[in-house]
């Protein structure tokens, strides 16, 4: 049985965390730790990579594994290099929606296309929270943010469907309300051979909540009521893709063998 004391003694570097009260990032940290513990992987076989943003803070100071805190939008590029250099490593990227789709969208698409065996956990709160709540590619239509005070005129990107279309091996979407499903999904994604992508809808009580006039409890309730497996569009949760495909580092090793002969 995993208890809070066990997690604090074995997996967390330091506490209290710098996250705002009610932020979903702490819950996602909890989910990642529980998934790693269920899988019984040695901590030395895991590397965590993060970019810039609130959610990038989940692995970098708090998760007690080897971690890289990289430049804005480039964690997937760094993680690809890490995986190619040492294919036995389980590489986990924790990135925000602005980081993964706004600044580094190209890296996300090409990592999914080449099917490199990394796990990307994208924390989606619908705006750039660390820099003050600016509009992001994932902000829903007509949602208010700091830079769109009368509502977002553009439309949001359905990231999971884009990554699935780009050719990922595993794609799932959950929210911070669906903790048990999320833990099982992270376990599956880490053990997946190819590129695996999990989008986690998370509450941001500081910026999103202030603009939408909701607190974090109301947002969790909103997740519970609106995000269903039978819903449409960005409200649909669950596993979208779960297939086996040739993986990049394996193909690379095969090619090296073939060329050397």
């Amino acid at each position: 049985m995993i208890t809070a004391r066990y997690i604090k003694e074995n997996y967390v570097r330091r506490l209290p965390s710098a996250f705002c009260p009610g932020c979903g990032d702490g819950q996602i940290l909890n989910a990642i730790i529980r998934a790693i513990d269920h899988l019984k992987i040695d901590r030395k076989d895991i590397a965590a990579v993060s970019g810039i943003g609130c959610s990038a803070w989940i692995p970098s100071p708090y998760l007690r594994v080897d971690s890289l805190h990289t430049t804005h939008g480039r964690p997937i590029a760094f993680a690809t290099g890490l995986k190619v250099a040492n294919p036995r490593l389980k590489v986990i990227v924790v990135s925000g929606d602005g980081d993964a789709t706004g600044i580094g969208g190209n890296h996300l698409l090409h990592a999914a296309r080449s099917n490199v065996g990394i796990t990307v956990i994208m924390v989606n709160n619908g705006l750039y929270a660390m820099t003050g709540g600016q509009v992001a590619p994932t902000t829903p239509h007509e949602a208010k943010t700091t830079t769109t005070p009368y509502g977002n005129p553009a439309f949001s990107l359905d990231v999971s469907r884009v990554v699935a279309a780009a050719g990922a091996s595993y794609v799932a979407r959950w929210t911070t309300w669906h903790m048990n499903q999320l833990i099982r999904s992270i376990e599956k994604a880490i053990m997946k051979k190819g590129f695996s992508f999990i989008e986690v809808l998370s509450q941001c009580p500081t910026y999103e909540g202030r603009m939408l006039n909701m607190d974090h409890i109301e947002m969790l309730e909103w997740f519970r009521k609106n995000f269903r497996e039978d819903a449409e569009g960005i409200y649909k949760i669950g596993e979208f893709v779960d297939i086996e495909k040739p993986e990049l580092t394996e193909e690379l090793e095969k090619m090296i063998e073939r060329v050397r002969r």
């Binding site: 049985m1 997690i7 604090k8 506490l15 209290p16 009610g22 819950q27 974090h216």
Partner: protein, 70 residues
């Protein structure tokens, strides 16, 4: 299953009250006192009603609450 104790680390708690919201048996409530950051931490209202589901531990973003089983 019965809980022996519910340990709440007052200085790790940020007073988000997610644990109070997810508790299915209303074992937890919000205290009237504040911790050193001036935040209202949760308190145990009725320990006997706890069914050790550990949802509070699962949802707590700050690892501040722990259910000790008998």
């Amino acid at each position: 299953m019965k809980a022996k104790d519910i340990v709440i680390d007052r200085n790790l708690c940020k007073g988000c009250s997610i644990c109070v919201h997810v508790c299915p048996k209303k074992t937890l409530g919000i205290s009237r006192e504040v911790n050193e950051y001036g935040l209202f931490y949760p308190e145990v209202v009725d320990l006997g009603s706890c069914i050790v589901c550990r949802l509070c531990e699962l949802y707590c973003p700050d690892f501040a609450i722990e259910v000790v089983q008998e």
